[in-house]
């Protein structure tokens, strides 16, 4: 499935400055693995040692938090947008 991943600015250091990346993947986990292949170091920013999404990072498939879908096993379809949203605290 061809999906778009939206990358927040703190992670764009890893993606050569790109904010949107197209990947082919059937689940959220697979999309993260693909991103890791393209940009080594990407995965550890999103997932912890156990492979769970870090608690201060949220992943949204279109407008829904994947925690309320099937987590990283959530299936993707063509045209989906996966947004990575880390907690930020600047004021």
């Amino acid at each position: 499935m061809a999906i778009t991943v939206r990358v927040p600015t703190p992670l764009r250091r890893l993606t050569d400055g790109q904010g949107e990346i197209e990947v082919n993947a059937s689940t959220v986990r697979e999309a993260i693995e693909k991103l890791e292949e393209m940009y080594p170091g990407f995965k550890e920013r999103i997932l912890d040692d156990k492979g769970e999404v870090r608690r201060f990072v949220n992943l949204y498939l279109n407008d829904e938090d994947i925690r309320f879908l099937k987590g990283t096993e959530t299936e993707l379809k063509d045209g989906d947008v996966l947004s990575i949203v880390p907690a930020i605290a600047g004021g």
């Binding site: 600015t9 703190p10 201060f56 938090d65 605290a89 600047g90 004021g91």
Partner: protein
């Protein structure tokens, strides 16, 4: 019927002419009490517009003094006021803009011992602070006191904003539904370390002020249950769903947090 002075009728004419505001709405604004925590990048524009709008009582919490490095975005302050307290500087600017506004300043670092006393008499709180521990503390205190919270944050070219309507806390999510606990110190950089485009504060602070005014007037659809995410580089705004998490440690089915807690304040870049 509220008696506006002639000057007030002129001052608020562009509000009063709006059917959604009118004289009754302007009266609500003048009788409202809003607390802004942090008189910095978000608090500056938010306070400016809340004061201009005629919010009758504005509380400002900040323990810092004005520094040259603030002036790129913290537009309440001026070059001449470098070195004086931010709350004093903010108060001076706001009183000059609108003498209708009663400004109450709290020149103190907010903590678990003073937060309830500070927030309890306000109708609404705006979070414009610059660190996670304080954000969690404000969320928890507003939840316990059932005071609605308009929360925004920013970094580099990005901003986030949402509203937690703790008047209806059985329905509203909270900050911990979004992020259950603060990141370990060192994982998420602060503006000081990572930079912030000054005008981002203008955008996000004005969104906070707008949401606050909507809440006071009871108009439109505030960002309750929605997280607004802004990316200024592509100038894209996206709204995602923010659901109440049944496993939330504060407002979930089996809450583990039943009193105020404080986390360590420390920061260093990594994410």
């Amino acid at each position: 019927m509220f008696q506006f002075t002639e000057e007030q009728i002129k001052r608020y004419a562009r509000h009063i002419i709006l059917p959604e505001v009118g004289g009754k709405g302007q009266e609500k604004l003048l009788k409202s009490r809003v607390l802004v925590i942090g008189a910095g990048g978000l608090g500056s524009p938010a306070l400016f517009y809340l004061a201009a709008a005629g919010v009758g009582t504005l509380g400002i919490v900040d323990y810092d003094v004005v520094d040259f490095s603030n002036l790129q975005r913290q537009i309440l302050h001026t070059t001449q006021r470098v070195g004086i307290s931010k709350v004093e500087s903010a108060s001076e600017t706001l009183k000059a803009l609108n003498p209708d506004v009663k400004v109450i300043t709290y020149n103190t670092m907010i903590n678990k011992d003073n937060i309830v006393d500070i927030i309890k008499d306000y109708d609404l709180v705006l979070d414009g602070t610059d660190n996670f521990p304080t954000r969690f503390l404000i969320n928890d205190a507003c939840y316990f006191e059932r005071i609605p919270l308009v929360s925004a944050a920013m970094l580099r070219f990005e901003g986030q904003c949402t509203v937690f309507d703790f008047r209806h806390r059985d329905l509203s999510p909270c900050y911990r539904c979004l992020f259950p606990e603060p990141p370990p110190p060192g994982l998420i950089p602060s503006c000081q370390e990572a930079g912030i485009l000054g005008s981002i504060g203008g955008i996000m602070g004005c969104i906070q002020a707008t949401e606050a005014i909507k809440m006071i007037l009871g108009i439109g659809e505030p960002l309750v249950g929605k997280l607004l995410i802004m990316d200024a580089l592509s100038m894209e705004f996206k709204k995602v769903k923010l659901r109440k998490d049944p496993s939330c440690p504060l407002c979930g089915d089996e809450p583990k947090i039943t009193g105020l807690i404080e986390y360590d304040q420390s920061c260093e870049a990594r994410f």
